[in-house]
C-alpha cells in the first residue's frame, strides 16, 4: 500500500501539484495497479537480458547505421517559429517567472 506521504513525494518529483482529494485517490489507484504489477515476481528472470527496445533492422545493406548519419548543416526551425507557441516571449527568448526569490 502506497501512503499519501509517498504520493506527495512522487508528485513533487513529477512536478505535479495535486489537491488533497487527488492525493487520496492516487494512493488508492496506484496501490491497486502495483498489486497487479507484483504478479511479475512470479517469473524467474535470472539471466534474462532486460529489453529496452525492439528495433530489429538498425543497419542498411551498405552497413550504414540507423543512429549515425553524415553531419551536415541544414536550416533550423528559426527563432520566430520556435517562439510562436510560447505563452510568454520577448526579445527572442522564452520568458519565465522568477527562478529565485530575492530576500
Amino acid at each position: 500500500m502506497i501512503t499519501e506521504q509517498e504520493i506527495r513525494r512522487v508528485a513533487e518529483l513529477a512536478n505535479l501539484a495535486l489537491t488533497d482529494h487527488e492525493v487520496a485517490k492516487m494512493a488508492l489507484d496506484l496501490s491497486g495497479i502495483l498489486t497487479n504489477v507484483d504478479k511479475l515476481n512470479e517469473l524467474d528472470t535470472t539471466g534474462v537480458e532486460p529489453m529496452a527496445q525492439v528495433f530489429v533492422h538498425a543497419e542498411n545493406p551498405a552497413g550504414e547505421t540507423a543512429t549515425l548519419r553524415e553531419d551536415r548543416e541544414r536550416p533550423p526551425l528559426g527563432n520566430r517559429d520556435a517562439l510562436a507557441n510560447a505563452p510568454l516571449a520577448g526579445s527572442g527568448y522564452f520568458k519565465v517567472p522568477k527562478v529565485i526569490e530575492r530576500a
Binding site: I2, E6, I7, V10, A11, L13, A14, N15, L16, A17, L18, T19, E22, M26, D29, L30, G32, I33, L34, N36, V37, K39, L40, N41, E42, L43, T45, V48, E49, P50, M51, A52, Q53, V54, F55, V56, H57, A58, E59, N60, P61, E64, A66, T67, R69, L77, D81, A82, A84, N85, A86, P87, L88, F94, V96, P97, K98, V99, I100, E101
Partner: protein, 484 residues
C-alpha cells in the same frame, strides 16, 4: 454526385478522377460538407481543415490536368489522429495543455501522405496523449461509436476509427502503443494496422512511450490500409528508429497469385488468447478461423506463455517512458501556462495540474514511482526482463507458424461511462493487443462479424517482423471470402 464516402475506396476515387467523373476539388468539397454535417453525431473530428484540404485537392487536379501521376492516394480524404503534428493546423493531443498549439512542422507520415496526393480533411479525437482505451479521456469530450451511438468507439485512436466507420473519411492515421489502433478498429468494424516497430517514422508523433509507439493506417478494406502503409513507410533520417528495410508494393503482392495463396500456410492459435473471452466474441473468432482453414490454412495450437504477464509489464514500461516524455509540458515553450504568480517551480506544478487530465496524471505518477530511487530494479528493470520473455514467446511461435490469429479485445464496444471508474479493468482489457507492441511485431484487426446486438468484433492477425505482406494476404483473403 460522387456518392457517400462509405462507398469509395482508394481505387474508386482514383478511377473517378482519371475518368473525369469528378475533380479532386469537387470530391473534397463534398467530403468536407458531409463531415461537417455528420460530425456532431460522434465528435470524431476535433478540427476540420477545409483550406488545407482544398489546396491539396487543387494540386491533385493540376497534376491530372498536366498528365502527371497524381500519386498513390490521389484525392483520398484522410483523418489524422490529433497526436500527429500538422504544420499550421492545430494539434491538441486531446489535452487542455495543447488546446491552442499550432505545430511549426509536419510529421513525416503527414508529409508522405500529402506527397502521395492524400487529402487531410481534419484531425481526429483520441484519449489525451493517446492514454486510454475508450476516447473518453479527451479534454474535448468523448467520441461516440458510429455503429452504436451510446457506446465508445474504443481508443485511443477512437476518432480515427469512427471517421472511417462513419464514412466521413476513407482512410485515417492512428497511433498504437498498447492496442490503440487495433482495439478501436475492432469496436467500430474497420481495418486497423499496427506495422512493425520502425516501419513508419515516428517523427512528428507526439511521444507517449517511445519504445512502443507506432503510427499506422485505418480503413474499410485491407487493400486500402496496405496502400496507405506503402505511402508512409520507409526510412526517415529524422527518426533513428526507422528501418532501412525496403517497402514492398503491398497491393501488387496481394494481386499476385490470388487463388490458393494461403494453401499450406500455418496459422497459430495461442491458447492464452481464448481464456476469459466473451462467448460471442470467441464464436466469431472461431468462425473466422474456419474461413481461413477452408482457404487452405493449416491451424496449429500454440502457446504464448507469458501473455498473462503482459499487462503488468506494459503498464510499468509505458508509464515510465511516458513520465519522461510528458516532462516537456511545462508552460514554457508551447503549452498553456497557468495564471497567477509564484516562482518558476510553482508555475510548472500548477500548469501541469491544470493542463493534464486524470488518466495522464495517474500514468505520470505511476511512471515516476517505478523509476524512482529504490524501485527501479524491482519494477522497471523487472518489466524490461519480462518484455524480453514476451518477445521470445513470439520468436519461438514463429518458428512453428507463419502467422498468429486471435481476438483483439475480450469484449465488443462497451457503453460510455461504463468503465470510467475502474482504470484497472480498462487496462486488463488490453491483454490481447499489448503483447504485439511489446514484441514489436506487425499486427492488425480485420472485422469478422457482429454480435447479436450488432456490435462489431475484430480478428487479430500477427506476423513476423517486417512481414506485413503475409499478414495482409491472410486479412485480404479473409475479407474477400467473408464478403462473398
Amino acid at each position: 454526385m460522387t456518392g457517400p464516402l462509405v462507398d469509395h475506396t482508394i481505387d474508386s476515387i482514383r478511377s473517378g478522377l482519371l475518368a473525369k467523373k469528378f475533380s479532386a476539388e469537387e470530391f473534397t468539397r463534398e467530403a468536407l460538407s458531409f463531415a461537417e454535417a455528420e460530425n456532431p453525431k460522434t465528435n470524431a473530428y476535433l478540427t476540420l481543415a477545409p483550406e488545407r484540404a482544398l489546396a491539396s485537392a487543387k494540386a491533385v487536379d493540376e497534376k491530372i490536368a498536366a498528365g502527371i501521376d497524381p500519386g498513390l492516394l490521389a484525392g483520398v480524404p484522410i483523418g489524422v489522429k490529433d497526436v500527429i503534428v500538422t504544420r499550421g493546423l492545430r494539434t491538441t493531443c486531446a489535452s487542455r495543455m495543447l488546446a491552442n498549439y499550432i505545430p511549426p512542422y509536419d510529421a513525416t507520415a503527414v508529409i508522405r501522405l500529402e506527397q502521395a496526393g492524400g487529402i487531410i480533411l481534419g484531425k481526429t479525437n483520441c484519449d489525451e496523449f493517446a492514454m486510454g482505451s475508450s476516447t473518453e479521456n479527451s479534454a474535448f469530450g468523448p467520441t461516440r461509436n458510429p455503429v452504436a451511438l451510446d457506446r465508445v468507439p474504443g481508443g485511443s485512436s477512437g476518432g480515427s476509427a469512427a471517421v472511417v466507420a462513419q464514412g466521413t473519411a476513407t482512410l485515417a492515421l492512428g497511433s498504437d502503443t498498447g492496442g490503440s489502433i487495433r482495439q478501436p478498429a475492432s469496436f467500430c468494424g474497420v481495418v486497423g494496422v499496427t506495422p512493425t516497430y520502425g516501419r513508419v517514422s515516428r517523427y512528428g508523433l507526439t511521444a507517449f512511450a517511445s519504445s512502443l509507439d507506432h503510427i499506422g493506417p485505418l480503413s474499410r478494406t485491407v487493400r486500402d490500409s496496405a496502400r496507405l502503409l506503402q505511402a508512409i513507410a520507409g526510412r526517415d533520417e529524422m527518426d533513428s528508429t526507422s528501418a532501412f528495410t525496403p517497402v514492398p508494393d503491398y497491393v501488387s503482392e496481394l494481386n499476385a497469385a490470388p487463388e490458393g495463396r494461403l494453401r499450406g500456410k500455418k496459422i497459430g492459435l495461442p491458447k492464452e488468447y481464448f481464456d476469459g473471452l466473451s462467448s460471442e466474441t470467441g464464436d466469431l473468432i472461431m468462425r473466422a478461423v474456419d474461413v481461413l482453414q477452408k482457404a487452405g490454412c493449416q491451424v496449429v495450437d500454440i502457446e504464448l506463455p507469458h501473455t498473462p504477464y503482459a499487462v503488468a509489464c506494459y503498464y510499468v514500461i509505458a508509464t515510465a517512458e511516458a513520465s519522461s516524455n510528458l516532462a516537456r509540458y511545462d508552460g514554457v515553450r508551447y503549452t498553456a501556462r497557468a495564471s497567477g504568480s509564484g516562482t518558476l517551480a510553482d508555475m510548472y506544478r500548477v500548469t501541469r495540474d491544470e493542463g493534464f487530465g486524470a488518466e495522464c496524471k495517474r500514468r505520470i505518477m505511476l511512471g515516476t514511482y517505478v523509476l524512482s530511487a529504490g524501485y527501479y530494479d524491482a519494477y522497471y528493470l523487472k518489466a524490461q526482463k519480462v518484455r524480453a520473455l514476451v518477445a521470445r514467446d513470439y520468436a519461438q511461435a514463429f518458428e512453428q507458424v507463419d502467422a498468429i490469429v486471435g481476438p483483439v479485445s475480450p469484449h465488443p464496444a462497451f457503453k460510455l461511462g461504463q468503465m470510467v471508474d475502474d482504470p484497472i479493468a480498462m487496462y486488463l482489457a488490453d491483454i490481447y493487443t499489448i503483447t504485439g507492441d511489446l514484441a514489436g511485431v506487425p499486427c492488425m484487426s480485420v472485422p469478422c462479424g457482429t454480435t447479436g446486438e450488432g456490435l462489431p468484433v475484430g480478428l487479430q492477425i500477427f506476423a513476423r517482423h517486417f512481414n506485413e505482406t503475409e499478414m495482409f494476404r491472410i486479412a485480404d483473403t479473409y475479407q474477400r471470402t467473408a464478403a462473398s
